[in-house]
């Protein structure tokens, strides 16, 4: 399934609803890195609250999404990691270090908005 990417003003929101195979994660990464440039987005939110497992490939892809977006001038927040997922991730040593995380979409949006206000832009 191709993950839909929603544009919300300056932000892009990708909500992963079902478990993805590796190729679909790649697809998501490619789509996001392209759209960040197309829409000149300020921030990217990847919502994985519907997932109850996250393997090492998915974690690596999330990390590369964040790094690619950073290189393209956007800040990434991973939101909605469930308690079980968080615990199994740290047990596997997958900690998404240096990447912003938030409880849910709402918190993710407020982190990005705060970062936007902190910048030089109007508002």
């Amino acid at each position: 399934m191709r993950v839909p990417i929603l544009k919300q003003h300056d932000f892009l929101i990708a909500s992963v609803q079902v478990g993805l195979i590796d190729a679909e994660w790649q697809q998501l990464r490619d789509d996001l890195s392209r759209k960040v440039g197309d829409y000149r987005s300020f921030g990217v939110i990847v919502d994985i609250s519907s997932l109850d497992v996250l393997d090492s490939y998915a974690t690596r892809t999330l990390r590369s999404i964040a790094y690619i977006a950073a290189l393209r001038g956007a800040k990434t927040v991973i939101v909605g990691i469930q308690p079980d997922v968080a615990y199994s991730m740290v047990r596997l040593g997958l900690t998404l270090e240096n990447i912003e995380t938030a409880l849910d979409l709402e918190d993710g949006l407020s982190i990005l908005s705060a970062a936007r206000k902190g910048g030089a832009g109007p508002e």
Binding site: I78, V79, I81, Q82, P83, D84, V85, A86, Y87, M89, V90, R91, T95, L96, T101, A102, L103, D107, G108
Partner: protein, 284 residues
């Protein structure tokens, strides 16, 4: 015995069983008397002694007769359950059975002392059964004790890991007592669920009540911090005692990842700062 050796084993069993049944009352009284002498029956009423000793005696003879130990296993479990509940010691139970074993053994000598060959045949038949019964009872007791210990551990565990909300978006997790892997796992899970339910942004893990921290526990704490961060919450560790701090440094844990603050008060102040709360002392 005219039937030869093949039937010898079965015959001797039969003979033993019928002997034990015939002398049931006198042997049982002997047994109870010896147990009373050794004070194994403290805390039991005379009716209990009567019925219990009869049941145990018959169960043992039944095992010998049928060669099946199901009855003994079942009875041992029930006895263990009641025994542990009423505070009977293992010494009482095992001691009592050892006495019974002696009583049976003595009677074998009494019956067959004229015929050494028959005596050794009888012992060959009787001893494995007696040993097996003892093993079953001992095992049942140990299992029952272990079950009780597990149950209590469970209870302590549930009591000892509260997750407290002290302000909006701020949780405190006071840890008291030793942390083992299972408890660490449970702590982490409870913490993460609480983070989700309370929408917490800062979690203060207070380890003032933890007497010792080894590298395993330190790693568990680090995992907890990382997992909380994945859910968008910052963890602060408070109350690391001088000894614990020294131990952590000397075993080479990556201590800077702890976000440690001296004590719980400092932790709450730090959390206030992160969340933007300001404490204002008003006029009286």
């Amino acid at each position: 015995m005219a039937n030869g050796t093949a039937a010898g084993g079965a015959n001797i069993t039969q003979e033993l069983v019928s002997n034990f049944k015939r002398e049931r009352d006198s042997l049982r009284r002997q047994w109870v008397a010896q147990m009373t002498a050794q004070d194994y029956l403290a805390g039991l009423t005379s009716e209990e002694i009567e019925s219990e000793s009869a049941t145990i005696y018959d169960t043992c003879v039944g095992c010998l007769e049928t060669g099946s130990y199901e009855g003994a296993e079942e009875y041992a479990l029930r006895m263990a359950e009641r025994g542990v509940l009423r505070g009977m010691t293992t010494e009482q139970i095992i001691g009592g059975l050892l006495v019974l074993r002696d009583v049976y053994g003595r009677s074998l000598f009494r019956w067959y002392q004229q015929d050494m060959q028959k005596l050794s045949g009888a012992l060959d038949t009787y001893e494995p059964v007696a040993n097996k019964i003892l093993a079953i009872v001992a095992l049942a007791f140990i299992q029952e004790k272990e079950r009780v210990v597990r149950q209590q551990q469970e209870a302590i565990r549930e009591l000892s890991t509260p997750v407290l909300q002290v302000r909006d978006k701020m949780l405190v997790l006071p840890i008291i007592g030793m942390i083992d892997s299972q408890r660490a796992r449970q702590l982490t899970e409870q913490l993460l669920i609480a983070v989700k339910e309370n929408r917490a942004k800062v979690v203060i893990v207070d380890v003032t009540g933890v007497p010792a921290v080894d590298s395993k526990v330190a790693n568990h704490l680090l995992q907890t911090i990382d997992a909380a961060r994945l859910m968008g919450a910052r963890a602060i560790i408070t109350g690391l005692s001088p000894d614990v701090a020294q131990a952590l440094v000397s075993i080479g844990v990556d201590v800077l990842r702890f976000n440690a603050v001296g004590n719980l008060q400092g932790g709450i102040e730090e959390a206030d700062r992160i969340l933007g709360y300001k404490i204002v002392v008003g006029p009286e």
